[in-house]
Symmetry: T
């Protein structure tokens, strides 16, 4: 089948882990987009307070199928 | 004139050729977007079955003018 | 707080300067998007007529917070 | 399922077209590898004689599943 | 000593975490390769179902010493 | 032999296909340069009108031997 | 305010996880630097022994404000 | 129309501003080249004396149409 | 002469312009470093409030000669 | 002729020079591979002891023709 | 002074060493260009025969001042 | 052991060879830094006078262990 996919770029954050920041961004996106089926990590950053990672900020590309 | 353009990223697919995968993505996008005027190829991939390219998947950036 | 941000890519133009092209893209985007809070310059180009920069075209990523 | 994939890099050539150079590399690889399921174009080059593209040389990454 | 190393590229997957996807790829490779001594993460992707990361797919380069 | 090569960058266009845009650039260059012997594709873009690729614009590096 | 920031590049290691390697580098840096406020992951590598990730080595850029 | 364009790389300098360094390079190039119609900024550097930017050095690609 | 140079990475900010952000970072660095003689722009970003660039943040590499 | 080439990635080392590290990797590879015909340098690194380069480590891609 | 520089890309070869390949390209270029004042190495490759580097091919950018 | 490493960027120069420029930068750095244990070549440039490489300028990253 000749599907078309659109990609959008999101940054999710999490105080817990870099993986959780990805999951948070996808959950938020899934509220308004159907058919999300993959992501790619583009950039991993974070904020620091008093020598501790306060929260992770991971930028991902998310791909979803455009419905016919 | 001081126009502003927006770019979106799409992946089109085609069983026929890499050029056709680009054309398919643009056609699909043109259904909901006016003023598309250029694209740039970002990535060319494909799926293989039994030693044959089954379909091409070409990711493009598409630029369109934001109307005033 | 575990905010999520979306990034979009825009090209602004200006006959005046590269900085003004950035400002023009942001102004246009702010008409339809709330919560824009940063940009990153991706590409700086321009058109030339008779040996003079006729207008600057600067492509930026713009980040805005997705509301909960 | 938690599959593992291996990627190898190949350059295929064709006097006919860039797409055909990809297909030629995959066909040759499929003679010794089972389970090839995708490719990605890495580089497109070619040789020229007397102002004509004599043959296309396209470098691809090919991914195949390592059997358990 | 003037050792020579070879690098191969693998994608491991895991439903659990991005780190576990790396570990899975290395374990599978270690079944047929002796002397693996380092890896480098090249790309982190994943598949999504119903707004949840279903599994992580991490591509790594693995380096191993070629025996004399 | 210790030859020296020079590379120049060209953009060719074609209404027909991306491969033809490469061929067009090489033909034009060959009118003034002897000894062209390879090219590399640097960027593939195109212009769109009414949801159709109007013409392909492919940027290539062309290498030719400097005569002694 | 017109602050100035300096960035330094560090590699942290951890036997436990890639996230912990980042945290370890930041903790060590915070012993001699005040005002660290962000990091960016540059490279994720690791050492392997007997088919197991022995420790993770994550290279980060760390940014801190230069005091006036 | 199936035009062919050539790109050349220039570095312009200016004591005044980064934008002026671009304009200076284009003016100089326009003395010997007709049909210059775009540029892209590749690199922005500068020389410093006693804590002050003494002059800006901006490297651009300049594109011009090859006449038939 | 066989000099050695060290490079450091700084981010300067300015409410006024991108060029001024570069100048601000260099001025601050020159307070503690002698022999600064060049910079290279690495990244241009900025913060936005109410659809206006509030301040520019430009990251540069600064090179200075290590004294013998 | 429509040959197919495979590329592998190797790191050679030498206490003597960076060029010698390349030669060492190729000699080792040539023991098991026929038809090696080119290489490309990917990365040049080295180990240091007491302020002296102890050995060079150069990573190369090596291309060889797959026999029909 | 507000000089303008042009950059060209050359590949030099040498049977002897990678450094000599650079020197050979510069010597050849200096026959027709005055005012060459710097180069940058872009790519280092080579041809192999019977497990030995037969000749080095180094691609450089060469910068020269355009006279007023 | 969970060591932390810091990387700094240096440019060494040599009239003799590119390898010697690396060695010169490391020697100079070793005067003030203990525990240097690796380098990576980032950029190879040089200055030219009268068609001859006058001196090589090689930029490296140098890594050293931060003591506990």
């Amino acid at each position: 089948m000749e599907h078309t996919y659109k990609h959008i770029e999101l940054t999710g954050s999490s105080a817990e882990s870099s993986d959780k920041a990805v999951q948070n961004a996808i959950e938020k996106a899934a509220k308004s987009l159907k058919n999300i089926h993959w992501f790619q990590v583009i950039d991993t950053r974070g904020y620091v307070e008093e020598g501790t990672v306060k929260y992770w900020q991971v930028t991902i590309k998310v791909g979803f199928r455009i419905e016919d």
